[in-house]
């Protein structure tokens, strides 16, 4: 009955409630929930499915925060595995790819206590010198809040200085789970939920676009997930500045919650679907292939997702947490992945302007074949 109610609400343009969201998460028929989300996805985007040519760089994993779910950060400089790039090292990452350059650089870092603020300004400015039209999507709201506290500035001042240096938009990371019951247990020493939301509010006020995420599948409940999604929806009602929502699956390897199982593919698909249905004011829901594997991301394109993120090139955060997704996919592989899902690939820029619309096609050769994986794993994913 809940699915009928939701369908009627969607048709009437009525908002889904907290209880609706909870019922969708609890509904036993995940494929039916996916169907509903797919209707909504196709109403908004038809078969169009977005991707971009981007590149991930993590310039430092030194971090003063001690999030339980993080396998990436090393608390102190000089600790085994800790790294901080020099500016020249970071810039070389782009210079080395200038024969086929990305359209976007996505930078997420640890909260390094000893770098001067000018490091980040110079970092941005240097990338812009190398490729003036590159889009710099850098620094989560957690980092922006850390900069504000650490360097004694307001959020607005931090963002204004970074924008002058070349910052274009903010990624959606650091949101984790907003509800305090969870956040104080898994991420007690970084930006609170309100501070995360405030950074995005300020960024939107400055005319910037941002994304939002939710880290699911650890100690949170469905109630916490719905609460998280509705807080994002409320922010979007206020500012309209969120471009895309990205559900991020928790990966347990090498972090403080290694005793927990990872969320399953069913959970990933359900979360994408419910997110699409609840976030009626956010244009795009991403199936982030690094988080959920390319195969499941491809299926998610039938469960409400309309974007599969980008080429990535060099992702380390999820890999540190045990993700077996490849480190990068080429644009051609992403096109094939989308085409095989029966969708129309649309290469976009970071602000969702269309760069190139590819034809719909039935391609006999898969970008990611089931058979490719059979030697790579047996029982690798824990439920």
């Amino acid at each position: 009955m809940i699915l009928e109610d939701v369908l009627h609400k969607l048709a009437a343009g009525d908002r889904l409630t907290y209880d609706d969201g909870l019922a969708l998460f609890r509904h036993p028929d995940v494929v039916a929930v996916g169907q509903l989300a797919n209707v909504e996805r196709e109403r908004r985007h038809g078969d169009r499915t977005y991707f971009n040519r981007n590149m991930r760089i993590e310039v430092t994993n030194v971090c003063v925060a001690s999030c339980l779910f993080c396998s990436f950060a090393k608390l102190e400089a000089g600790a085994p595995g800790a790294h901080t790039m020099t500016l020249e090292q970071a810039w070389r990452e782009l210079e080395a790819r200038m024969d086929d350059p990305p359209d976007e650089i996505h930078i997420v870092n640890g909260l390094h206590p000893d770098l001067p603020f000018s490091y980040y300004e110079d970092l941005l400015a240097g990338f812009k010198r190398i490729k003036p039209d590159i889009h710099m999507k850098c620094f989560t709201a957690v980092e922006i809040h850390f900069f504000a506290e650490h360097y004694g500035m307001t959020h607005a001042r931090v963002l204004e200085r970074l924008r002058r240096a070349g910052l274009d938009s903010l990624p959606g990371g650091g949101a984790e789970i907003f509800h305090d019951d969870v956040r104080r247990r898994i991420a007690h020493d970084k930006a609170t939920a309100e501070q995360w939301l405030e950074v995005h509010r300020v960024a939107h006020g400055l005319g910037m676009r941002t994304n939002a995420t939710m880290l699911y599948g650890h100690i949170e409940t469905f109630e916490h997930r719905v609460d998280h999604l509705l807080r994002l929806r409320a922010l979007q009602d206020e500012t309209g500045g969120l471009q895309a929502f990205i559900p991020l699956a928790f990966h347990p390897d090498g972090n403080g919650m290694a005793n927990l199982p990872a969320p399953t593919a069913m959970d990933a698909l359900r979360t994408v679907a419910v997110s699409r249905l609840l976030l009626d004011n956010v244009a795009h829901v991403k199936a982030y292939w690094v988080s959920m594997t390319p195969e499941v991301a491809q299926i998610a394109l039938r469960f409400g997702a309309d974007d599969i993120d980008g080429t990535i090139v060099h992702e380390t955060i999820y890999r540190a947490a045990g993700s077996r997704s490849p480190g990068a996919l080429t644009a051609e592989q992403l096109v094939r992945l989308i085409q095989e899902a029966g969708r129309v690939p649309v290469q976009r820029d970071s602000l969702y302007h269309v760069v190139r619309e590819h034809p719909r096609a039935v391609v006999p050769e898969a970008a990611v074949k089931v058979r490719d994986r059979k030697h790579a794993k047996h029982l690798e994913v824990l439920p």
Binding site: T293, K374, A376, P383
Partner: protein
């Protein structure tokens, strides 16, 4: 079940398939039609037929039996399939197979993520090797630590619990096949 799903199945032109199976006319479904039908509607239909015919239990074979012994085992190792292809093949196997068909997905060939999703598209058996994260089969008697404060436990027990959790999280009931009882284990 939801009328929404009924309508999706009807809109996909598949409403007659379940009725035909209920009337005992199995194997007559037009495979070409199933191959082009909306995937989620096809999956929902296959899931209903699975529930009608074999219920919610999922039989887990770990390790996989040496021969299939009547089960329809997917994916075919000789065919290259995407994840979406696999889900469609599973649904078609359920809809065109004999009554109460044993539709088995081998996670060794497709990964556990897809194998779990396939449970929503008509599969009722899982098979594969219990192995380490590195992909190597776990040695007999190997021990694993589970969590910082836990003690070492037999690896096969831990992995079986994980598999069972995977099935439960798909809303189904796990049942392990007894290795020594598998008549199909050796010719």
């Amino acid at each position: 079940m939801s009328a929404l799903v009924d309508r999706a199945i009807e809109a996909a032109g598949l409403a007659d398939v379940r009725a035909a199976r209920r009337a005992g006319r199995c194997g007559g479904a037009d495979v070409a039609r199933l191959r082009t039908a909306d995937l989620l509607a096809l999956g929902a239909l296959a899931d209903r037929v699975r529930r009608d015919e074999v219920g919610d239990e999922v039989l887990i074979h770990a390790p996989p039996p040496a021969v299939s012994s009547g089960a329809i085992v997917l994916p075919d190792p000789e065919r290259e399939l995407t994840g979406l292809d696999l889900l469609r093949e599973v649904a078609i196997a359920r809809l065109t197979g004999p009554p109460a068909a044993r539709v088995r997905v081998d996670w060794t060939r497709c990964g556990l993520e897809l194998a779990q999703v396939a449970l929503g598209f008509g599969a009722n058996e899982l098979a594969g090797h219990i192995a380490s994260k590195g992909g190597l089969p776990l040695a007999q008697g190997a021990l694993l630590g589970v969590g910082k404060k836990s003690q070492l436990r037999p690896a096969d027990v831990v992995k079986r619990e994980e598999l069972a959790g995977l099935v439960r999280r798909a809303g189904r009931t796990p049942v392990f096949a007894r290795v020594e009882a598998l008549a199909e284990a050796a010719p």
